[in-house]
Amino acid sequence: MSGHTVPADISDHMLDLDEDEDLEVYSKNTTLADGGTMPNSPGSMVNQYQLEEDEEDHQDVKTKDIFVCVDNPESHITAIETFITYRVVTKTSRSEFDSSEYEVHRRYQDFVWLRSRLEENYPTLIVHPLPEKFVMKGMVERFNDDFIETRRKALHRFLNKICEHPVLSYSQHFKAFLTAQDLGPYKKQGPGFLSRMGETMRAVAISVRGLRTKPEEFTVMQEYIDHFSTKICSVDKVTQRIIKEQKEYMDELKQYSPSYLQWAELEEELAEPLKGVGNCIERCSKETEDQIQHLSEVLLPTLHEYVLCADTLKAVMRRRDNIQAEYEVKNEALVSRRVEQEGLQEEVEDLAGRVEQANSALRGDWTLWRNVMRTDLKSAFVSAADRNVEYYEKCLAVWESFLLSQRGESVEQTDWEHGS
């Protein structure tokens, strides 16, 4: 796997912070928890990159050293609200973890917290999306069993995607999420509401202003993202439509089979083949039901996640643009009023560095993401095609056994007619 880089943690410039010592993420001390150094200049970053690459050559990419499982949804009822918690079990051999096994309970809000932290700390990395808060289609309720199960699976996939990410999996917040019995203290840290507002407003101002020059590679990336987003949404919609049509087909099949059985009751000689056909149709109807289930539970969720990914990608591009815009604003200020604060020069250099880091991080993660996307989607399509093959195989077998039974009969009849 090529092209992934060390994260550019530039959050301390992005946000007005409480200087809380516990969060080394925000401190200017650029050491990572495990003692490694985090680069803050392009030069050192290149070295780090090469180091990482060397390490990787000795490592089988597919070996995971951290496994997470999300299961056991449980309902909790308090005076104020009802919510579901999920059990999160972690097994790991990483040295950053004190133990090799952890078990905690988390609710959806906690996942949201984790993800927003990851996005803040790694603004130009692509963080896998969470399942949606609400499902807008039809009659799905929050505490419906299917909904909970779908959500559980998506949360499981979310955490495992983090595990598989070479940078995000080392996040301190991720570790806290997996290990801390009580997330409360961690949640209190972080930017307050006002600072978030400030960030948003700055971002808006910047986006209104526009970028001077956007590097070609990111323009290309943006175009791809826009196209991909449209296409994946279409595929998602088509799949939903297919499921709908299949369901209606199945409903009609359920009425088709009884007609043959009813007819069989009128007949003597014909009763047996009629019943045979009726049974075949009934069995095929059952297979259709299974088929629909597979589509709904395997293909559709994967597609849907990539629809959400498309939105994530757009957000990442925006954040990257903002970082560049911030630098350009300060740089212009510097260029226009040379006599300004001495600090400005330094600030602009910092921002330039941040832009580089952000771009590198995105570049690397982009390749990573595209590979994963291709694998995921191909696998989903192959699996769906596979399931279709199975479906038709089973229906085929059903009809063939009917045919066999009829031919056996006709052979007997012929024998009888010829008196043999």
Binding site: Y249, E252, Y256, P273, V277, D386, Y392, E393, L396
Partner: protein
């Protein structure tokens, strides 16, 4: 696939209709027929070969477009080795003439279950199926239905001997006059009257009652089946066609992808093929629906025979009643005892007795009437018995034919389904191979089919001969012959 069966155990002359017109092969309908030879059919091959459009003035002097059908007949002699078969005799008939023939048969042979004609207008239409009478698919299916009708008539032990049937097949111009000359039209009116009359028979024949009941139930159930089938066809059509959208989207998507581009392109193509496949599949299923429809319409014929029998029985009962009444009248006159109220009796009481002469006159007249009545009853009774005997022979023949035909229809339906499943399964295997490199597969559950995928791919590249044991078959049209798996 249809059968015309005389039910006789005599020597079988097998005649195969191998005339396949371009229209037929276009619509992929192959009319395979095996008949047991009867008088007419041993002598000649019959087929409805073509359909054509004509315009002409109708009865109210307006221009109309109608379809005519070409009937071909040919003597059923064996063709000498290397020789070409003699050119067939041909004539053109329109649907209304078929109807006329059938009406003639209905009134002339009321004890026979007359084969039905294909529907006049398209019914049980689902989404894509046209309700237009001039639609080529509809015309084609009707052509097949008309041929079927003729073959059934020509192979019927009784109907095939009728001169009018023979003339229908051989005399284009003079036929209508010939039919009119038989005077069947009178019987038509009385038949129509009898069909609509509400008869109450005192002692209904159990067998006929049972048959009528069965026929009514069969009618209901086939009707229901055809309706549901049409709805199912509609739905399955929807499923296949929506997959076509994948084709379009994948194709567009492949344009922005590098590594995955080819796979998506290929997958899109397969989805298009899948979406297109349903048209042929459902077209073929229409053939199955037509076979069911034939027997749906047959139930009307059966009902007809039962009603005719009811009518005869009713007339018999009425005649017997009438006779009884007359006898009683005579007795009264003879003995002087007034048991039956009659106007004559009353008036004679009021206005004076009639003379002895008058009375004897009346008795004599009654005796005459009674004798005539008894003769009539004997005749009617004989008629009834003859009717019952002939009808019941034909009913047995019909039952055998029905069981055989419908069983084969169900078998061919199963064969259709099998063929469809195989075709589509292969399609999805191809689709899988779009995304999967040749020597790796994510398809865990169908690893036993992987050699099939591989052999397909390799055989396509010419690397390896296709093994005889491969389960996959090349994509081809569905097969309807019984022996093919």
């Amino acid at each position: 696939m249809m059968m015309a069966d005389s039910g006789s155990s005599e020597e079988v002359a097998v005649i195969c209709n191998t005339d396949i017109t371009s229209a037929e092969s276009e619509n992929n309908i192959i009319n395979t027929m095996v008949e047991r030879g009867t008088v007419l059919l041993r002598k000649m091959e019959i087929s409805v070969a073509e359909a054509d459009k004509r315009t002409g003035k109708n009865t109210v002097n307006m221009q109309e477009t109608y379809t005519v059908y070409l009937i071909e007949t040919r003597p059923a002699e064996s063709v000498p080795e290397g020789g070409t078969p003699a050119a067939p005799d041909t004539l053109w008939r329109r649907y209304s003439e078929f109807e006329l023939l059938r009406t003639y048969l209905l009134v002339t042979y009321p004890y026979i279950i007359i084969p039905p004609l294909p529907e006049k207008r398209a019914e049980f239409v689902w989404h894509k199926l046209s309700a237009d009478n001039l639609d080529p698919d509809f015309v084609e299916r009707r052509r097949v239905g008309l041929e079927n009708f003729l073959l059934r008539v020509a192979s019927h032990p009784v109907l095939s001997n009728d001169k009018i049937v023979f003339l229908f097949l051989t005399e284009e111009k003079g036929w209508r006059d010939a039919v009119q000359e038989t005077g069947f039209q009178d019987k038509v009116d009385s038949r129509l009257k009898s069909l609509s009359a509400m008869l109450r028979v005192k002692n209904p024949d159990k067998r006929f009652m049972g048959l009528k009941h069965y026929s009514d139930e069969l009618n209901t159930i086939i009707l229901q089946l055809l309706r549901v089938r049409a709805r199912v066809a509609d739905r399955v059509y929807g499923v296949y066609k929506v997959h076509g959208n994948y084709g379009r989207v994948f194709s567009e998507w492949s344009a922005i992808e590098k590594e995955m581009g080819d796979g998506l392109q290929s997958a899109g193509h397969h989805m298009d093929t899948y979406a297109a496949a349903i048209d042929d599949i459902l077209e073929e299923e229409e053939h199955y629906a037509d076979q069911l429809k034939e027997y749906l319409f047959y139930t009307d014929s059966v009902r007809s025979v039962c009603r005719k029998h009811e009518l005869i029985q009713y007339e018999l009962e009425m005649a017997a009643q009438d006779l009884t009444y007359k006898k009683q009248q005579k007795e009264e006159l003879a003995t002087g005892a007034v048991r039956i109220f009659s106007l004559k009796g009353m008036t004679s009481k009021l206005f004076g007795q009639e003379s002895q002469e008058q009375r004897e006159g009346r008795i004599a007249a009654l005796e005459q009437s009674i004798q005539e009545g008894e003769e009539a009853i004997k005749e009617k009774d004989a008629e009834c018995q003859e009717f019952v005997q002939k009808a019941w022979t034909d009913i047995e023949r019909f039952k055998e034919q029905k069981d055989k035909d419908l069983r084969e229809a169900l078998i061919s339906y199963a064969i259709m389904q099998i063929s469809m499943c195989k075709k589509v399964r292969t399609l999805f295997l191809f689709l899988q191979s779009s995304f999967v490199p040749v020597h790796a597969s994510h398809a865990s559950n169908v690893s036993h089919l992987l050699p099939c995928v591989l052999s397909f791919r390799e055989s396509r590249c010419g690397l390896m001969p296709k093994s005889a044991s491969t389960k996959c078959e090349p994509l081809k049209g569905p097969n309807r012959t019984l022996d093919q798996k």
